[in-house]
């Protein structure tokens, strides 16, 4: 087996070269450890050389043994040196810095007006109101006539209407949805109708030709004006807090009788008087009332058997109060500097 001695010596020598090469390309502690295990580990290269050394004839062992021992000493010294360098470099170069900015996750926002609309809808659905929708292009019948607003009636002057051809128009309120819902079913009816409405108002800080409304309706046996005040009070307190008070003032709408305007106590000054409430302590919200018997006539409900209340509210008005927004046009401008605040 004369060739084994030479072969082993050649392998030891090339192992040294390979180690030199590999040691030149490692820097991380983990890499150095892997290198050490490959050469010095229990099943490493050098351990393998020693086990093959034991197979050699005794006369050959001193020479080869010395070569392997030299290699081992060299490799251990180099590994120690590499470790020391790596440790000092690690401290100097890669320091974890938690103050670097976190990753920027781009996200959008819900429109503030629709956030308020969602909140209103949630409040009423929690009180057992269903959500109904209807067309935005309406007919004169549903928008006016069936709501007891006959043609040529002065109350049509209350709302400037956008007209399309024939009997068609852009709905001026979501009240037509009430009629459509009552046509579809017998009482009890407990619903709200949220949605876009249109009136021929020149845009300014408080007017817009398009706006959002939520209308509510409850028709059943024994529904009273006191219930109407009850639902408005509950709504006011869920929306603006327990200390909000409500005020009903007589008013006129063709589709309700008795009719009322309802106010909330000022959410800014708690009723003491401030700029927002023009020193009255009250914020005008919208109109409400008991469904006029004439309206029941149009949907064939017996007004002696059933009574009902209806109420409306402008979503923009409430959102403007809630967020202290002074100009309604901001809602339709969609400026990201505005939208990103909500």
């Amino acid at each position: 087996m004369g060739g084994e001695k030479e072969r082993l010596l050649a392998e030891v020598s090339s192992a040294r070269e390979r180690f030199e090469r590999e040691a030149g390309s490692v820097s991380l502690v983990a890499e150095i450890d892997a290198l050490r295990i490959r050469y010095l580990g229990r099943k490493g290269l050098i351990a393998d050389f020693f086990s093959r050394l034991a197979q050699l004839p005794p006369q050959d062992r001193p020479v080869v043994g010395k070569a392997i021992n030299d290699l081992r000493a060299y490799v251990s010294a180099e590994i120690d040196r590499l470790r020391a360098t790596a440790a000092s470099q690690a401290r100097a170069e890669v320091v974890f810095d938690p103050t670097l900015p976190g990753t920027r996750w781009e996200r959008g926002r819900f429109h503030p007006l629709l956030q308020v609309l969602d909140e209103i809808v949630d409040i009423f659905t929690s009180m057992g109101f269903s959500v109904e929708t209807g067309p935005e292009i309406e007919t004169d019948y549903y928008n006016f006539e069936a709501l007891n607003i006959p043609p040529n009636h002065p109350s049509r002057d209350l709302q400037d209407t956008f007209y399309l051809e024939g009997p068609h128009l852009l709905r001026t309120h979501t009240s037509p949805v009430q009629i459509r819902s009552m046509e579809k079913q017998r009482p009890p009816v407990r619903m709200i109708a949220p949605g876009r409405c249109f009136r021929k108002d020149t845009p300014d800080a408080t007017h817009s030709p398009m706006f959002h409304q939520v209308e509510g309706l409850w028709v059943d046996k024994g529904v009273t004006f006191a219930h109407l005040k009850g639902v408005i009070l509950a709504f006011a307190q869920k929306l603006f807090g327990k200390d909000v008070r409500i005020r009903f003032r007589p008013s006129f709408f063709p589709f309700t009788e008795p009719s009322a305007e309802y106010d909330f106590s000022c959410i800014m000054c708690k009723g003491a008087g401030c700029r927002i409430c023009k020193n009255t302590g009250w914020l005008e919200i919208s109109g409400a009332g008991m469904v006029d018997p004439a309206v029941f006539g149009f949907v064939d409900y017996d007004p002696e058997e059933y009574t009902g209340y209806a109420f409306g509210m402008g979503v923009e008005r409430i959102a403007m109060l809630k967020y202290q927004i002074g100009d309604i046009r901001l809602f339709y401008d969609n400026d990201l500097r505005f939208l990103s605040q909500f």
Binding site: L100, T103, R104, E106, R107, G108, R109, F110, L114, D118, V121, T125, M127, F129, S130, V131, P135, E136, I137, N152, P154, S155, F162, Y163, L164, E165, H168, L170, P188, R190, R196, T202, P209, M210, T224, F225, A226, H227, K229, G230, I232, A234, I246, F248, R249, P250, S251, F252, E257, P258, M290, D292, P293, T307, Y332, D333, N334, D335, R337, L339
Partner: protein, 799 residues
């Protein structure tokens, strides 16, 4: 409707302050929109009597007047330019040091040889009315004395602006408002009771009235006065009218306006000498007939325009406006005074067709009191005689063939309590109705209530219930908690799928927007299926808001451009809402859509990543992700399409066989019309279609128990070959265990041949029931590679 505190006090005693009156009116449904205190704006002005007047030497327009300013101030000499300065008259003297309404200070002043110690003031200089011609002459009925502070004579007042709802024509007169307060506070209502001294000559000797259209004019009355002196109104009359926003014209016209604001009954005074034969004929106009109203405008009339005519010509549009040809002027000596009841429908039609609205038409179209016509006429005659002198003919011509009778309405207190949710005693209800001027007669099960003709709004029991509630006080009706939910009714909630879409888009970085549904023609046309499908508003606010949007994209694009102009680097927007169209048969239709646009930076440069602009693939990825989630489908296909507003027609979004919408880069020429220089990518889906294909239920698929095998393929393909074609072949040949195919690298460069690109896919194979063998996977890969080579000329990229 404007009125004043002192005016109301003429009809009802008020203990309340003006503020309390305003609150009370508001809580009665007569909302006081403003309350303005009017005070004397001058000081140092006293009542004085002019003793003598002579010309200032050397002047042809100045007068030297000696005035008596009472014991305290003595006699003074003043220079005055007014033409109405006469000895013995009573006037307002500004003493030296006095302050006038405009803040000017009065000081002694020299006019050549003479010195003016003070100043005789006009009404305008004192801020009382706008009349600047001539000095203020005071009407001394014995209540004035020289030296009296003028502020005590023209005291303060408070002007109420009351928002009178259309159902309350009775409150378009101060008396109606006073009646509400009298009912609310239980005070007596004191109506004016004119004492008229009539001449022996009867009115019929001068005036004939022929009503040929009794439906449009149920009642017409006329009175006649002669020897009338038309002149400027006395201060009290001019001032009161001006306080409530009406210009003072002359005593006769002012009286008709005053009585209108008092009774709510419009009146019209004709110059009798300009009426042919002293005859009034009430009839409809001929279609196309022309007439000049007293505002000087030529009006073309319709066959249903009611006219007041004399024997030969029209002299007024009934209830709307008089004519130039018969109006009262300074030369008028004889007056025919009209007080009538025109039907609301007729006036309203005329007002609308002629587009004129006057204080008079406003009241007639809401309904004046047919039984109050004569009382108002009498009151006006009394005031004309008082302010303009003259003589009144005996009697009144009153054409009222079919008198309007008061209505009787049955009222049940129990029903009122049932509707209101109250327990108001019957007696209290009865008292409220009585105080409002209604006659109440008790019957077995309720009350028979007779409603006077000045309340045309009270026709049904429910109307009386409202009266009771109003005067009982809405504030005294206690809120009844919301009744428990009736569980049998399953209310429809919000559109849950839409809620999901909104949340997804917001989470993915989109801002929800609300854009106007009304847009310009150009904006609408660019996103339409043809101009004939667009919906136009017939009476728009302006061209910019004349069309209903056929798509959500024009609004999103406009919002995008506004944000870009405000230097926003990243504009990701979405909106949901209705879009509108007309079908071929002319029917209007509206659909719910959902749309989004992206523009600008997708990812900002950070300390460890590069900046990247948003592009088509960002849009595609978001649309696929959202639609996958909403519809419960794995596969969302984009097919080449033909939308003109998208670059090269854009892509149709397909779920199974349904096209649910479109996506792509917005066409350059469209962007140009918005002055947008940056690329914008957008999508829009028909929400009902999305909902129709959506599978919202999810069924659990067991999680695989056996490990997946992953295999990467680096392929070389022609530059022109779409990656999708390669992927399709991989899927087709991948066999039942191929779970996913993911393109993870696209490379073009020096290491591969020109005209080629390298596509690297990661393929995952997995079987439910066992671990796949290496051989199985290798066989599949080989089959895929064979097919790719044969069908597409795609080869494995050499290492």
């Amino acid at each position: 409707m404007k009125t004043t505190y002192n005016w109301i006090r003429e009809y009802v005693e008020l203990e309340a302050t003006p503020e309390e009156v305003a609150d009370r009116l508001t809580m009665l449904g007569l909302e006081v929109e403003s309350l303005e205190r009017v005070q004397a704006q001058f000081q140092g002005v006293v009542v004085a009597q002019i003793l003598s007047v002579e010309p200032v030497p050397g002047s042809d327009h100045l007068w030297l007047a000696v005035v008596d300013a009472g014991s305290r101030y003595g006699k003074m000499t003043v220079v005055c330019g007014a033409r109405n300065v006469r000895a013995k008259l009573w006037a307002a003297l500004a003493l030296p040091g006095a302050i006038l309404a405009d803040g000017q200070r009065v000081e002694p002043r020299s006019f050549g040889s003479v010195t003016s110690q003070g100043m005789l003031c006009s009404e305008a200089e004192l801020g009382l009315t706008s009349r600047a011609e001539g000095i203020l002459l005071l009407d001394n009925g014995g209540s004035l004395w020289t030296g009296q502070d003028l502020r005590d004579v023209v005291g303060e007042d408070w002007v109420f602006e009351v928002n009178v709802t259309p159902n309350r024509p009775d409150c378009l007169g101060t008396i109606g408002i006073a009646r509400e307060l009298s009912a609310a506070w239980g005070k007596e209502l004191r109506l004016p009771r004119p004492r008229l001294s009539e001449e022996p000559e009867r009115v019929e000797e001068w005036v004939r009235v022929d009503v040929q259209a009794p439906e449009a004019c149920p009642r017409y009355t006329a009175r006649f006065l002669w020897d009338v002196q038309v002149a400027p109104s006395p201060l009290w009359l001019a001032r009161r009218l001006e306080l409530v926003g009406m210009r003072s014209i002359n005593n006769v016209v002012d009286v008709t306006n005053y009585v209108m604001l008092e009774f709510g009954q419009p009146l019209h005074a004709f110059d009798y000498d300009r009426l042919d034969e002293g005859t009034i004929v009430v009839k409809f106009a001929r279609e196309g007939e022309e007439f000049i109203t007293l505002d000087g405008k030529l009006r073309t009339l319709f066959s249903d325009t009611l006219l007041i005519c004399d024997r030969s010509k029209p002299v007024a549009i009934a209830g709307v406006m008089g004519g130039e040809n018969s109006e009262v002027s300074e030369r008028t000596r004889r007056v025919l005074l009209e007080s009538a009841y025109f039907s609301p429908d007729s006036i309203r039609r005329t007002k609308r067709k002629l587009t004129i609205s006057t204080d008079s038409s406003y009241r007639f179209e809401r309904g004046v009191d047919p039984e109050g016509v004569v009382a108002a006429s009498n009151r006006a005659c009394e005031l004309i005689l008082r302010t303009a002198g003259g003589k009144l003919a005996r009697g009144i011509v009153d054409v009222y063939p079919d008198p309007i009778r008061p209505r009787t309405v049955f009222f049940r207190p129990s029903r009122a309590n049932q509707v209101l949710g109250t327990a108001i005693p019957s007696r209290e209800m009865e008292g409220i109705l009585r105080r409002l001027g209604l006659e109440v007669q008790e019957q077995e099960t309720g009350y028979a209530v007779t409603v006077p003709t000045f309340r045309p709004d009270l026709t049904r029991e429910i109307d009386l219930i409202e009266e009771v509630a109003r005067h009982y006080g809405y504030e005294r009706i206690h809120p009844d908690p919301v009744a428990p939910i009736d569980e049998s009714r399953t209310g429809e909630g919000r559109d849950q799928l839409l809620e999901k879409a909104r949340s997804l888009l917001v989470g993915l970085g989109f801002f929800e927007t609300v854009n106007l549904s009304l847009i310009s023609r150009a904006q609408a046309e660019a996103f339409s299926d043809g101009p004939e499908t667009l919906v136009k508003v017939l009476n728009p606010l302006g061209e910019e808001l004349a069309w209903l949007r056929p798509s959500l994209l024009p609004g999103l694009l406009a919002s995008t451009v506004r944000n870009l102009n405000r230097r926003q680097p990243r504009v990701f927007l979405f909106e949901w809402g209705k879009v509108f169209a007309r079908s071929a048969d002319g029917a209007y239709c509206e659909k719910m859509h959902l749309a989004g646009t992206i523009c600008g930076i997708f990812a900002y440069r950070t300390w460890r990543t590069q900046e990247r602009a948003a592009d088509f693939y960002d849009l595609k990825g978001v649309v696929e992700e959202v639609l996958r989630d909403l519809t419960g489908r794995k596969d969302i296909r984009l097919e080449a399409s033909d939308r003109p507003w998208l670059e090269e027609g854009g892509f149709a979004l397909c779920v199974d066989e349904t096209k649910v919408g479109y996506a792509g880069q917005l066409a350059r020429d469209v962007l140009k019309s918005y002055d947008c220089e940056q690329a914008v990518y957008g999508f829009e889906v028909d929400w009902e279609r999305v909902k129709a294909v959506a599978i919202t239920e999810r069924i659990y698929v067991p999680i695989p128990k056996f490990p997946p095998v992953q295999q990467d393929l680096a392929l070389l393909a022609d530059e022109t070959l779409p990656a999708g074609a390669v992927e399709a072949v991989i899927w087709k040949r991948g066999g039942p265990y191929l779970q996913s195919v993911r393109l993870f690298d696209l490379y073009r460069g020096p290491q591969i041949p020109a005209g080629k690109k390298s596509l690297a896919f990661a393929l995952t194979f997995q079987a439910e029931e066992r671990t796949l063998t290496e051989q199985e996977v290798r066989d599949r890969i080989e089959e895929i590679l064979r097919a790719l080579a044969q069908e597409l000329g795609v080869t494995l990229r050499p290492r």
